[in-house]
Symmetry: C2
């Protein structure tokens, strides 16, 4: 293998794929990146067996070939080089890397030992605008669970319901759902949140589409020069739609920033009580007040003017409320609930395509 590639392109590709390479795993070659000529392109790939990412870069290929090299060293080395042309020249598993003023040899391992990228057969396929997909990930991912004991909740549920593409995640304490436009397809897949975190990290401000194709076991996301393959999670996703109330006996409508501010201050006094804060809706004063008590340290009451419909109170985890508010676009939010033990809905007043639910704590 001998080829020329620009430092800028190689640097970007290594940055995108090498975080998936894992130096702590049991299989040493998984800490490497695979570098492989593919016609006039060079593919840079890494995998942890659950997720595989490939990034293709233009290059001037003199002779074809492939090799794997340590991902961390390769990435740090290439990112430290000045911009300009880099020559890669492979001799007996030794990769010579030459740039102006720099001459390096990195000892590689044969590409034959690198796990094959899984192939998807008989795929269903659809496109989603990349910007919209990225925004949806930012609004939904935080609600997925980290708890491996209930695998389905560690996934993000991408599915079609009544002609709408929906993205949903829940860890059973909160739930986020975002609409992604309409389709005539029927499709439903449960993608590991960790794979989507990797995808979100890579997504820039692309104007184009993300192509999603999947079979029963795997999903492939393609955009620009990047491909990400992930194993799907097996199992039935909870029928979360039934949890979302459509009417509320108590609502408060107020500027988002004011609710964020009083929630943040209140959370400082809620550390002893695992973040527990109590919201009180007062229709005569037309205000929301939040009270939090730290028995040893003190207590706090914070208030904000709000349009109140129906007096009432509910106790929430302040971190979950802040996560929900952080995910909402727009300047005004509405909090709605029916009783202090039923789900509390947090949503933007001006859009109807995003819903966030926080389950109440016992007060």
């Amino acid at each position: 293998m001998k080829l020329q590639v620009t430092q800028e392109n190689l640097h970007k590709a290594l940055g995108n794929v090498s975080r998936v390479a894992n130096a702590k795993g049991t299989l040493p070659i998984l800490s490497n990146v695979l570098i492989k000529t593919d016609g006039k392109k060079l593919s840079i790939s890494a995998t942890n067996l659950d997720i595989a990412i490939s990034h293709f870069v233009g290059s001037k290929v003199e002779t074809e070939g492939s090799i794997t090299v340590p991902a961390r060293l390769m990435q740090e080395f290439i990112s430290s080089l000045p911009s300009g042309t880099i020559t890669l020249d492979l001799n007996d598993n030794k990769l010579n890397i030459t740039a102006e003023h720099y001459n390096s040899t990195i000892n590689g391992a044969s590409a034959e030992d690198f796990p094959e990228m899984p192939e998807i057969t008989d795929a269903k396929t659809f496109d989603i605008p990349a910007r919209q997909f990225k925004a949806a990930l930012q609004q939904v991912l935080m609600a997925a669970s980290n708890d491996e004991s209930r695998p389905v909740l560690t996934g993000v549920y991408l599915h079609v319901h009544e002609g709408k593409i929906l993205m949903a995640a829940t860890d059973s304490y909160r739930l986020a759902e975002k609409e992604l436009g309409e389709t005539k397809l029927e499709s439903s897949l449960l993608v590991p949140a960790s794979a989507l975190q990797d995808l979100l990290r890579i997504l820039g401000d692309e104007d184009g589409d993300i192509n999603v194709s999947h079979d029963d076991q795997q999903v492939l996301f393609k955009f620009e020069d990047v491909q990400l393959v992930a194993r799907l999670i097996e199992g039935k996703y909870p029928d979360y739609k039934t949890l979302i109330p459509s009417e509320f006996s108590h609502t408060a409508t107020l500027p988002k920033n004011e609710l964020v501010n009083i929630t943040k201050v209140s959370s400082l006094f809620a550390r002893e009580s695992a973040g527990s804060i109590t919201l009180n809706l007062d229709s005569s004063k037309q205000e929301v007040s939040i009270r939090s008590v730290a028995s040893q340290l003190g207590e706090n009451t914070a208030t904000a003017a709000a349009a109140i419909d129906g007096d009432g109170s509910i106790t929430l985890n302040s971190r979950y409320l802040l996560d929900a508010l952080g995910a909402i676009d727009g300047d005004e939010v509405q909090i709605g609930f029916n009783s202090k033990l039923e789900p509390c809905v947090v949503r933007p007043t001006k859009q109807s395509d995003y819903t966030h639910i926080v389950m109440p704590l016992k007060s």
Copy 2:
């Protein structure tokens, strides 16, 4: 105690002092800040018994008094409040804090149990421009040792030598020295580097002077509304001046950024060898090359054009060389040494008030 203070001033003062408060110590009250009226001012203080910092802020005092409250909660709470007037009102060790929309009570502990700030008697005193002092700290502090088994090396040596105020630090592997102007005083003090780290953190871009006063046991730094007192380190500082060579048989002069770049890249291949890199000065090519070898991973050679006087090579710790280069002002540096076992001097070519020495490694 009852008073009004602005959120901006109280926030700044708490930010400056509260990092010294330590929640992990054996004496619980040291995790508190002392809040105390002092005439028309309010003083905010914290101490870890080695260092004490006080910040004075203007306030409208209605009744005098003092209390201590948990530093972390108080700082985070005040920093979360909107700008504007805050009222502090003390009742039975409970500090009521009122701001628009916020009403809080923080449980305090009596100020009588808070350690007294040490007083300095019979002090020597001198002034140093704050900007110059700050720049010197940024150039010298990194060379002080963290190893408590040789306490004198954990200090920064501030002393007068032949009419010049000098600041020096060494951990025995490298040494940094900066001149701070002239004086007719005789003074010599060994200040804990940790206290100066705190001072550096607090120093903004003040135009004024820092007043330094000290007796045999303590030093007080005063500037604007801040006072920092530290215990001095006892013991005799090494006679480091004899280590600094005045002539060199090998020198390389080159743009600082180029030496930084080739050192950074070389250090990536030097991780297995504890950062060991070998600089080679070649007068016929008029270049410096740096070679580093990672037996498992590979090897690298990086070169940069330089004015060379005297061929030779020396092996250095790449981190120490990068620290030295990072501390140097100006665009051009000179590396000088006499043999591969003698100290290597790194200094700016255009100034003579800063010297950095890196001891070589055996190659």
